[in-house]
């Protein structure tokens, strides 16, 4: 158990910089999720925390102590890999016991800890199987088990659920969260799935192009995205972004782009807030709600309507977004605070 702190961490391969100065502070026992598109440097960052990748510049601290020069063997971390990286020639018990044996844990202590972890992960009946005799979900559990028996300072997860099917992924997501809570181990979790990121994170770090776009509590980020990148990356379907120059809206100074979440739009005519007319191009009913794809003078939008939508394809509808649900971004895509009101149809 430890707090983890990154201070202006950089990584370059030759002349290309993969991580361009990242600073994050993760308090003890919290779960930090690094999320971003592929190639944004999130995995590289995780591997630097693990000690698998050399840190070009900056500092990684565990509990205030710089660990840059400490190799992965001595860093006292546990990592769950994307492909699980189970030892194929060892059975489940040995896979979990390997790390303890290497550290000279007494035999009965190893047995106690492995049995306990196996019980927690419902693996007790599989202890003498080899990895190839297990299903994907079971392998994932063994990988988790291998991490928790060690009782390390920090857990690192490198897209641990991306090889599972959607249903299992949802299940394991909940399990990982409750396991992390129960064990109270500081964790860093890398994913490209924004849903996983939102639901798991105590601290969410959105990365893009080797830099942190925004870090904070997931709902804060959802409600106040710091940039158009974050706005379109977090949330599914993403935030609607419209060019202000195509709309006649009174906007804060410097704003170029207007955004609103699909669920904040109401199909109704109103006298305040943003008023738009949208021509509906497609309707996607998903059961509990429907997604309406439409075109407006400012560009394409997606609207979220509860239940089954009565709107037909080809119909023109009036769209209203309350003034306090509008987001504004400047020419560089950075958030601009302030509210605007529309007079446009």
């Amino acid at each position: 158990m430890a707090s983890v702190e990154l201070k202006d961490v950089r990584k370059s391969y030759g002349s290309t910089e993969a991580v361009k100065g990242v600073s994050i502070a993760i308090p003890d026992k919290e779960l930090c999720v690094l999320v971003g598109p592929s190639g944004c440097g999130k995995s590289t960052l995780l591997r630097m925390i693990a000690g698998l990748e050399e840190i070009t510049a900056g500092e990684v601290r565990f509990d205030g102590q710089v660990v840059n020069a400490i190799g992965p063997t001595e860093r006292d971390i546990a990592m769950v890999f994307q492909n699980y990286a189970l030892y194929p020639h060892m059975n489940v018990f040995d896979n979990m016991a390997y790390g303890l044996r290497n550290r000279g844990t007494p035999k009965d202590e190893i047995k106690r800890r492995v049995d306990e972890a196996a019980k927690r992960l419902e693996l007790s009946h599989l202890l003498d199987r080899t990895p190839r005799q297990l299903s994907g979900g079971q392998r994932q559990r063994v990988a988790m088990g291998r991490a928790i028996v060690r009782e390390p300072k920090v857990f690192l997860f490198d897209e641990p659920l991306s090889n599972l099917d959607a249903k299992l992924r949802g299940q394991m997501r909940v399990e990982i969260k409750s396991l992390q809570r129960a064990l109270g181990v500081t964790s860093v979790y890398v994913t490209h799935d924004q849903l996983e990121a939102m639901t798991l994170a105590d601290i969410l770090v959105v990365m893009n192009g080797g830099l942190v776009e925004q870090a904070g509590r997931p709902l804060d980020i959802y409600e106040k995205p710091a940039s158009t990148f974050v706005a379109s990356f977090i949330g599914a379907p993403p935030m609607n972004l419209l060019k202000l120059s195509d709309l006649s809206v009174t906007a804060p100074a410097g704003a170029e782009t207007l955004g609103f979440r699909p669920e904040d739009a109401v199909i109704a005519s109103a006298t305040s807030g943003l008023r738009l007319e949208a021509r509906i191009e497609a309707v996607e009913p998903v059961g509990a709600e429907s997604f309406l794809h439409g075109t407006t003078p400012g560009g394409r939008v997606i609207l979220r309507a509860p239940g089954r939508s009565q709107v037909e394809v080809g119909e023109r509808v009036a769209v209203n977004v309350p003034a306090d649900k509008l987001h504004f971004f400047d020419a560089q895509g950075k958030r601009v605070e302030g509210q605007g009101v529309s007079v446009q149809i």
Binding site: N83, A85, Y87, P88, H89, Y98
Partner: protein
């Protein structure tokens, strides 16, 4: 399942396998049956007539202390050659795996010795280690080692083992490099995080995962040491001093082509054939089963 290919022409399938069959027939079954036939006959000194003698040749060969000696020499030579060739190749492959720059160049250099013909390889080693003209022989004598493989049987054995291994190392190296590359990097990283240092990682993760490669090479190297080392032994020691480096194959040659005792020689070939079949069968039946992981 892939669909079975059906040939409309009845003759075509036979034609397609004919070249392979012809080669096997001419170069294996025919000589093998000749050897089998000869092993049951005794030839007169002038090669004018032969006489059926049953298993007399086999009895004679197996009772011959020289044959037992050749068997021992072969076992020592093969085990030593296979072990040295594989161990050194593995060491080099593991080191080559760490090289980042010039990997391809380094590997290419490592593969060259395989292109050297056995007899040439033997000559090279002879030039280096011959007690009268060898460069290294001089160095060793200056270091106080009484180096004389022409008189000392153990030294002669060491020399042929070294030469035979040297030639096979390249081949083993290639397979070990490929085997090492097939081990996912994340496994090594997981082991590092699990607290295993390099040596420990090698013996607990890498080496067990290389087992399929190692097994394959074990079969290949044993067969190599048994049969393909004639040229080296012939060039370096000629089976001597005494009979210290006379392997079974070398003795077959000596008895058949030098001493012209064809019956004995043929009987020895048949025994060799049985040994190889048995060895391969045992290796595949008992060793291979334990070495494959999915």
């Amino acid at each position: 399942m892939t669909p079975r290919v059906v040939f409309p022409n009845k003759l075509l399938p036979y034609l397609l396998v004919a070249p392979q069959l012809a080669i096997t027939l001419i170069f294996f079954y025919w000589p093998a049956s000749q050897a089998l036939q000869q092993s049951l006959q005794r030839e007169d000194p002038f090669g004018l007539k032969s006489q059926f003698v049953g298993l007399a040749n086999f009895r004679k060969v197996l009772a011959d202390p020289n044959y037992i000696n050749a068997l021992q020499v072969t076992v020592i030579f093969s085990v030593a050659t296979a072990f040295v060739a594989m161990a050194v190749a593995l060491l080099l492959a593991v080191q080559a795996d760490k090289v980042v720059r010039g990997k391809g160049f380094y590997r290419t250099l490592m593969i060259w010795p395989y292109a050297v013909a056995p007899a040439i390889a033997g000559m090279l080693w002879l030039f280096l280690f011959s007690p009268s003209i060898g460069t290294f022989a001089v160095l060793m004598r200056n270091l106080g080692i009484a180096w004389d493989p022409l008189l000392n049987g153990n030294q002669a054995m060491a020399l042929v083992v070294a030469a035979a291994s040297w030639k096979q190392i390249s081949y083993n190296f290639l397979f070990f490099v490929a085997g090492l590359q097939a081990i996912p990097k994340s496994l090594i990283e997981a082991a590092a995080i699990d607290g295993a240092r390099e040596t420990k990682r090698f013996w607990t993760i890498v080496f067990p995962l290389l087992a399929p490669t190692t097994f394959f090479l074990l079969v290949i190297n044993t067969t190599y040491a048994f049969f393909d080392t004639f040229g080296i032994i012939h060039a370096v020691t000629g089976g001597g001093p005494g009979k210290a480096t006379e392997t079974l194959v070398y003795k077959v040659y000596n008895d058949g082509f030098v001493n012209l005792v064809l019956g004995d020689s043929a009987a020895q070939s048949v025994i060799l054939m049985v040994i190889v079949i048995a060895l391969t069968a045992v290796q595949f039946r008992y060793v291979e089963r334990k070495v494959h992981y999915g």
